[in-house]
Symmetry: D2
Subunit: 348 residues, 4 copies
Amino acid sequence: MRTWGIGTALLLLAACAVVASGAASQDLKKWQKGKGWGWVWGPQDEVGSLNEMTDASRLAALRIAKTGKVYDLGILYDRTSYKWPGHSPGEIISFRTPEGVKRQADSPALVTDNPTGTAWHSCALFLNDNIATQIDGLGHATEGADDHWYNGFKEKDWGGNWGPRKCDASTIPPIVARGVMIDVAGAKGVDSLAPNTAIGVADLEEALKKQGTELRPGDVVLIRTGTLRHWGEAGADHAKIGPADSAGITLEAAKWLVEEKGAMMIGSDTSGLEYGPKPEETKAYREKYKSFMPVHNYLLIQQGVHIGEFHTLEELARDKAYEFGYVCATNKIKGSTAGFTLRPLAIR
Amino acid sequence: MRTWGIGTALLLLAACAVVASGAASQDLKKWQKGKGWGWVWGPQDEVGSLNEMTDASRLAALRIAKTGKVYDLGILYDRTSYKWPGHSPGEIISFRTPEGVKRQADSPALVTDNPTGTAWHSCALFLNDNIATQIDGLGHATEGADDHWYNGFKEKDWGGNWGPRKCDASTIPPIVARGVMIDVAGAKGVDSLAPNTAIGVADLEEALKKQGTELRPGDVVLIRTGTLRHWGEAGADHAKIGPADSAGITLEAAKWLVEEKGAMMIGSDTSGLEYGPKPEETKAYREKYKSFMPVHNYLLIQQGVHIGEFHTLEELARDKAYEFGYVCATNKIKGSTAGFTLRPLAIR
Amino acid sequence: MRTWGIGTALLLLAACAVVASGAASQDLKKWQKGKGWGWVWGPQDEVGSLNEMTDASRLAALRIAKTGKVYDLGILYDRTSYKWPGHSPGEIISFRTPEGVKRQADSPALVTDNPTGTAWHSCALFLNDNIATQIDGLGHATEGADDHWYNGFKEKDWGGNWGPRKCDASTIPPIVARGVMIDVAGAKGVDSLAPNTAIGVADLEEALKKQGTELRPGDVVLIRTGTLRHWGEAGADHAKIGPADSAGITLEAAKWLVEEKGAMMIGSDTSGLEYGPKPEETKAYREKYKSFMPVHNYLLIQQGVHIGEFHTLEELARDKAYEFGYVCATNKIKGSTAGFTLRPLAIR
Amino acid sequence: MRTWGIGTALLLLAACAVVASGAASQDLKKWQKGKGWGWVWGPQDEVGSLNEMTDASRLAALRIAKTGKVYDLGILYDRTSYKWPGHSPGEIISFRTPEGVKRQADSPALVTDNPTGTAWHSCALFLNDNIATQIDGLGHATEGADDHWYNGFKEKDWGGNWGPRKCDASTIPPIVARGVMIDVAGAKGVDSLAPNTAIGVADLEEALKKQGTELRPGDVVLIRTGTLRHWGEAGADHAKIGPADSAGITLEAAKWLVEEKGAMMIGSDTSGLEYGPKPEETKAYREKYKSFMPVHNYLLIQQGVHIGEFHTLEELARDKAYEFGYVCATNKIKGSTAGFTLRPLAIR
């Protein structure tokens, strides 16, 4: 009985430890070291590497939490917020206000038959779906003369007027996974990386070593450049954010993360994750990489790996919180090309 | 040493058990039985009852998860989706498409200097902020000749053209709490409650008893009417959804949940949570309750308790999953009056 | 001197009479009886039959005015207005209001440094470009596997994300021409034609004869069905407008107007000008005419003749004002497919 | 009979001459020299000085046309067009395209039952109502603690969520009047006036004298600064347009035009008609004039005189065409605060 007592207790503790360590995430279904994923999930798949999630991997991610502290990785959006200029602008406009409801009396019963003078606020929003804290859907980037995206879906078959009809952001499952923050800016001892900083494999390895973090297959990997240190309240200081926003990972770093480390999703605190060359180097860069956004081509189209953008990592950096449970669910809007104005959570 | 072994192990197990049971949520900071909350969080507060969350309560909620199964409580939104007709309509429109990018060549460098023919999809969205799966911000409902909302914020002080400037949805903190689903439709043995069904205290008690669930202070309580059984792909069948959508809780039930049970947030699978009377009973109802939406007045304005709307509970009902960790974070858009097109998660 | 006096005066009077009669419009540049126009204006042309206008024809049209009475042929648009359900919905929303400007103080200098408390109203509009009183651009309708429109412009060459890049509504020149209203409803002695009334050549001839009007090459011909008798303030009564809106001209009537009579533009008081068959006759109709809108194919694509829609003709009918100077200029918005919310003028 | 012949002919000729000279416009209904108008049209009036138009005045204006040449005073608008930054941005977006219609097949009958492959283009527009060529409605500007506008309409009574409910742009009647262009830039011998040029009474008098034009009560007066020489295709060169746009008339000039000359509407080729001081002079200017836009306060609110903005006058200037028939009708949109993307016509 004593033995049972001790034994059972120890077994339970051991079970607990295993779960908490996230060991389950090491046995991925389709990932191959040296190759990553690709179009391996069947011809109708719209989910990509996120298919790797299982109940066990999610449970392990949730169990990373030890204190219940939650970090909000979202940044506040308003009409002034910095975004890529190729996207449409945004307005949040009061559609109904209590004064308007009462003055217009366009719903007479709500005005006359209403002793407490109850009314409401609601807003009409005109937004682009690539704003603030985002997760790119696998239909966001296209390539080729046939304009195909992940898994070979082609514009002539699956394009539309109301967004792509395959791999829109509503197909992104809720993401619950082990998250790792790689604080490149921190490892370099700077608040924010210089504009046009290319983050290569060595930079990631150096930062991981300094912070003592190990990557595991199935991770959501978030890379900190420090760009969002300039966000302020709502991203109005474009002159500061814009240049910083060009720091990012190289194609080689993206490949290393996916093919060697099994990163299931990769994000950063910039609007595009990837390195942007200086104007005078742009032409040569595009000739070499054959695209103006080779990391997007590689991750979204070729590997089926989602990209996280404008995730603020400042508070995680301050707390040296490098490992966490990452929880995020995108807006459920048919045809949208990305989740937007999100608040991914890092739970600890 | 043996003693230490046993003792430590048992202590740890005990600690584990306490955490997992969510016991921490019983000691709320400001809630008073028989009274609930109200404007108790200081004159500048915009958060209301969600201030009750602590690291401990969040950790307890996360620890409810035993298998890692995640339920997505969000419903898919598109231009056809049912919503209250007083809100503005919605469109998701392709803003950029690969063919358009190439034909227009309005960014010449992206077309000519681009050997892989890389391009992209993005969408422009025109949306109301009260659509699909929602959490109402505390600035949504107003009352009185001074058009005030929660905590006494008045339109003349805090109104604006770009949404209310106090208690917008960006002030709603990430919600991580014990969630309880009360399956009223299930308890009544129907797929979906009849239109204009008033759910009172006895109905809630009956369902709780049948399903063997106990409410605890600090819970997110979700009440199932079965309305979203009619949602289909994206809510296009207004003729079915509309009538069902009028089932909901009475003011008395809302008071009981808040004042007797300490519900920190209350939601349902309808667009408005609360009971809507038949046309011929509407006038008498409004005279009695002095508002066309007395549950909103009570919860949002008077108690500072957020309302969850259009949370789909069908899968939870199928699995008889009555207790779960509820995790949801609203869009982070300044001025918005509600979180919208959300995907709250129920983790088990 | 007397002779001179008489002779000169009579000559001048005669000249006056010639101008006023609109005689100049009889010598069109490209129109051929029995054929109409077609793609006769050169391969880059985006204007079509409106190229026929000359200073002389415009002057003649202006000289039709004898009293200076002006009829406003536009109908009022708001969010409730009837339109074809395949178009996007519309909202006119207060973007800035004096109270909002002052409460927000987002432009501090405009609030503090402003002794008179000056402020302003402006609105944000979300609109479709095919609403209320319209003139369809020649890029509105397409046909063929190559999706071409007037003059052979093809989608693969001239499509775009921001509207068609050939024949948008901004290419429509200001229209000043002799206008003729054919009051078919009046000739039939009804307020409004029955739903699905097909207006054929005989109906037009009958009405023209009854009203004593002669068509001339270069005319803007407006056909009255009486549909807008149901418009009310702003077109909210869809149940009445919708059915009436299906009355319209047949393809044969359109051909007669263009090929035999030289109509330079054809319009009516419905949303689509052309006859819409009853549901049970729709399939046969489409098989016969090979399109769901053969009059659009014929006029816009094949002939380069613009279509006027939702022109209210009620007041003209009341005054039996069958001939007038028609003056209309569309919105000058690049990429728009139609002029909208217009107020064409009939001057008398 | 001879006598009758001669007499009648001469009488008719004389009548013709009177009409063509526009003499009818000298007898205005309410204008008083030295005072102008004001709130003289009755307490419900929303039209202001445009009430002066009569059949006779319109006919006289139309008869100014001698050749039938028509000048389009509108400028082309697209997403890049310069506008005051306090207005909401704009997008013209393809809502339906032939490829989209066919790929989506969301209206199956239009795709399958359609042998010619007919389809269509339409656009969704997100616009501000103060863009490109405009006419400000009398509800655009407000003043006072009670936020009133023309004729004493107050925000608390006539404000709304969907635009002001009195004096919206749909109340502006079709304008047909004698138009006079005062070419101030031409008189000064410059292409475009220097930034922050204040155009005073003497400048107007000098230009009128040089060009030999006489103002008459009831005129639409358009003042040329040359700013739209920088518009290019669609106003994308903000760096050039912005500074030039600050040239305009002083309050004294506005008063002289209205009170001494009876101008029924005043416009120019800038976005705001009135003089904008240099930054360093702004504070003193506002203290003196008690408003950041005193000409707007005076014309719109106090006098009920509409303002025309961004009317291009370049071609009129080239042709030294100083007198013309001005014809313009604003969009008929309920609640809109200005007519926008207009094409006013100058007929000669």
